[in-house]
Symmetry: C2
């Protein structure tokens, strides 16, 4: 089973990386970019037997920093 985990900063948390990217896009001549937020994406290949609770646990314990980040689990058709 393929699983995608999207990790993004919670609203209100400062994102210097995203800000730098936004400025770089402006510098490259791209107009109309109001905001950029940077996050992480993990693609996991797991056994079909792995439960939703286990996936949740992986995110909370390792993949995301729950203090400043949210995560979203997306199962991809194999």
């Amino acid at each position: 089973m393929k699983v995608r985990v999207h990790v993004s900063l919670k609203p209100g948390v400062l994102d210097p990386q995203g800000r730098a990217i936004q400025h770089s896009l402006e510098g490259l001549g791209f107009a109309g970019v109001h905001d950029v937020r940077a996050g992480r994406l993990f693609e996991l290949d797991v056994d079909n037997g792995v439960s939703d609770e286990a996936l949740d646990d992986m995110c909370r314990k390792l993949l995301a920093n729950m203090v400043i980040e949210n995560y979203r689990i997306e199962k991809v058709a194999a």
Copy 2:
């Protein structure tokens, strides 16, 4: 308009970060994780007038390293 850009390593490109995460998950007691690939996720807030070509250009010029990475653009309903 909200746009998500998913950047992931091309197949065959070594991913030490993903490997380290996989080993850490094993170390934490999670079984059945065969592979982990680490990527990046960008959430852009852009003008509705920004064209698909401009978005493509942003990815090729700044957000993704086309030598080793693929990108996918996903438009999110505002």
